[in-house]
Symmetry: C2
Subunit: 216 residues, 2 copies
DNA sequence: TACTACTTCCTGAGCGATCAGTAAGTTATA
DNA sequence: TATAACTTACTGATCGCTCAGGAAGTAGTA
């Protein structure tokens, strides 16, 4: 038989199996949401039997939590160094403007690189963040960077320089177009993936934040 | 028999039945999402038999679409007059500032009055707005008001005055805190329903937009 | 008014499909 | 051989939907 269909029995490797299951689960949970992502579909995508996910992660709930934990851990790995860089940049010549640009650039870059993360957060928001409460979910990285930036600006406290409000607006301006690419942006005739739009969006956000902070 | 358990057969009323079914469906679709809102639960909440929703609306899909259509029609009823008022306010003494305040006030008021609408849009966004394409979904009201406001400001065209970018930021700043009350705001220790926060949020948005537009 | 014919509204029961979870069995590896 | 890795087969529950039929209302006719 020349090159017959080789069953190609794969070597047993629990770590690898866990990983491919987590990958498949992340993709399907992000794409379809918790309810619509069936264990069978996850197993099928991971090319394992339908019972293996439950073997490693106890049940669907456990698998979902493992996905969340891995996503949030990755967020920390990306945003914590970013915050350090932003704080460092505040002391250099570019000053506030350069630091703010680095912050927005890094944050938007993270969101663009991790669409699954954005979608998982979206599902969680609609589910009242019930499953989020069990996971370490507070990333103070962006907040830390923004507060540091505010500290070097004019020191006059003002309602519009309220760090909380500013942080919400920052995240909103970055997050919202990704969440609503198929609703609002599509209705406006905008392709959220278009490079020109993404660049214009970034410049708009940086400029807007500088003006709100009123630096200079 | 003194006041025995009266079955209280209710008078037949197709219009009323349609309405109570739509009300129940809207509440459950908004709360749980399309998949998790079962026809049985909807019927139960509407206090009708489990088969009546399908009798009136053909199937679950039809019921969902009817809910969406009613919600979007109500949005038009609220936002179109608002846009007219904003345009009218642009000509008066308050000028740009007053008009912008009226716009944000009205838009935030609508969103606060219709949490079901906000949540339904959220579910739709995550589902790729598949079911939204069939309904009239484009409300140009806010866009119309904003463009009119921009026209009376300084006429210099600038990237930061790009009406599209500005509209996205406006909606993002208003919408996002409502969508992510249980995720980001909760993680920040903020109660999104707190009156003080809501007021501060409104002032922040108005001030931010004025600064981005750079009027005066 | 009284009766019949017909339509619309509404219910309860049940069918087929899907899903999460489990238990028992099989194979690879140490 | 003992154990961990993995599969196959199965169960109970739930869901969307259909269907037969009954109750309520309407129109026509006398």
């Amino acid at each position: 038989m020349p090159a017959a269909a080789q069953p190609r029995r794969r070597r047993r490797d629990a770590q690898r199996s866990r990983r491919v299951i987590l990958d498949a689960a992340e993709a399907l949970f992000a794409q379809r949401g918790y309810d619509a992502a069936s264990m069978g579909a996850i197993a099928s995508r991971a090319r394992v039997s339908s019972a293996l996910p439950a073997y490693f992660f106890a049940d669907k709930e456990g698998l979902y939590r493992a996905v969340l934990e891995r996503c949030f851990a990755e967020r920390e790995e990306r945003l914590e160094p970013l915050a350090d860089e932003v704080v460092a940049a505040l002391g250099r010549e570019g000053g506030l403007a350069g630091a703010l640009r680095h912050l927005i650039d890094g944050y938007l870059g993270f969101l663009a690189d991790r669409p699954d993360f954005v979608r998982l957060i979206g599902w969680e928001a609609l589910h009242g963040a019930r499953r989020l409460r069990a996971t370490p979910r507070h990333s103070a990285a962006v907040e830390r960077a923004l507060r540091a930036a505010l500290a070097v600006g004019s020191s006059a406290p003002s309602p519009r320089r309220d760090p909380d409000q500013l942080l919400i607006s920052l995240v909103a301006m970055c997050f919202f177009p990704l969440e609503h690419a198929d609703t609002m942006l599509s209705a406006m005739g905008i392709d959220a993936g278009d490079a020109t739009f993404v660049q214009a969006r970034k410049e708009h956000i940086i400029d807007a934040l500088m003006r709100i902070i009123d630096a200079g």
